[in-house]
Amino acid sequence: MNKQTQDSPIVEVQKMSKNFGTTQVLKNVDLKVQPSEVMCLIGPSGSGKSTLLRCIAFLEQYSSGNIYIEGEMLGYNDDTDIRKLTSTNELNHVRRNMGMVFQQFNLWPHMTALGNVTEALVRVKKLSRREADEKGHAILKKVGLAERALHYPAQLSGGQQQRVAIARSLAMEPSVMLFDEPTSALDPELVGEVLQVMKDLAKDGMTMIVVTHEMGFAAQVADTVVFLDQGEILMKGSPKEIFQGEKPPRLEQFLKNYMDRNAFWE
């Protein structure tokens, strides 16, 4: 199924639900992410926002509904009544333009920063070692780590590791990047450098879906903010609508808790 019109969404989630056993963790989620859109998913822990992101990456299988990536069905063969998982090759094909950044960085510790960035360039894109290294150096420079190319992850700070992880994704030239709480495992002092890289990306027109607790980032950078609670989208809107407009009591409460937690002066 191909829907190739000009402003077709990069990611489209239709009536998607996800069960873990008998617990329903996502209920009838509908989302559309347009090219160059930055969407932030916010909500209390356990609201399903990370699970939603992992479903969009098909690191979790969704139970019902559909997810389309650039018009192509993700994870399942759609042509029969009985849904069947696609092959790994087909799945990788649909995900080829998707990058993902994780809370725990998930770098490969036995490879240098450069090795992490170039691995898929060599193995998946089949670049020569020389071309891959050239490109790897350029991308590390872009995230401010030109000097750290030959360091192993254990020799880098959390913020630097996360920037390497972003560079690793960027090297594959994705059309959409997923961020799963990219700053939650960082010391507060290191959050800024990672958010700055993400802001630069957004400015360059990258399509991004970001699960975050950084309300400041959501307010400044997002085009759309989605509030999830107990597996459902309770509100979706511009940062202004979400943070300043009329909102459901649950979101009001969530934001109030956030403000209280972060207030250090009366």
Binding site: A57, L59, T88, N92, R95, R96, M98, G99, M100, F102, Q104, N106, L107, W108, P109, H110, M111, E119, A120, R123, V124, H151, Y152, A154, Q155, A165, R168, S169, M172
Partner: protein, 223 residues
Amino acid sequence: MMTFDAQLILNHLPDIASGFGITILCTLIACFIAMLLGLVVALGLMSKAKILRYPVRLYVEIIRGTPFLIQLFLLYYGGPSIGLYLEPIEAGIFALACNGSAYYAELFRAGFNAIPKGQLDAAKIIGLSRLQIIVRIQIPQMMVLIIPGLVNVSIILGKETAILSIVTVPELAFVLIGIGAETYAYAETLTVLAVSYLILAELTSRFGGWTEKRLSKYMERSI
């Protein structure tokens, strides 16, 4: 009165050296095949398909649950009844390799499981294939993690080669026990035998330590 006739050992030195050579050869070849086989067995143990996992699990349980001597006899004396005629050294190495594979496999499995799942998520989403993930991400890390265990199993396999003497493989135990039986110099021959295995074990352990140190550099926090 205690006597220890060093001259007797010196007189038989060429035979002893040849026996030691065969012991090392059997150990090296058996360990090598056992690791390759063990890797395949480990992947089988971790397979989602029951049709693969169950037979492999059975294999591991049988190997671990029966004495090596019986396994060797089954292969060497039982083999011909199913048309499998092996030279003593072939049977010995093959039996040893099968025996070791079960123990290596459990180590490999533990090593695979010790690698954080997130690293695999990152590899999947970036498009690496299953095989690339195993070869490029999992094996290099898990090999470093399990080196102490590998050394253990390898030392045990090295010592088990003594059993091969029973099916007349002319390895070290065969040679020295033979000399002992001829000359009644049991103390001399058995002492040399014991010390030889001690040296073999020590070399294996040193080699493991050296490899571990070299390969685990990436875990150090400073350059």
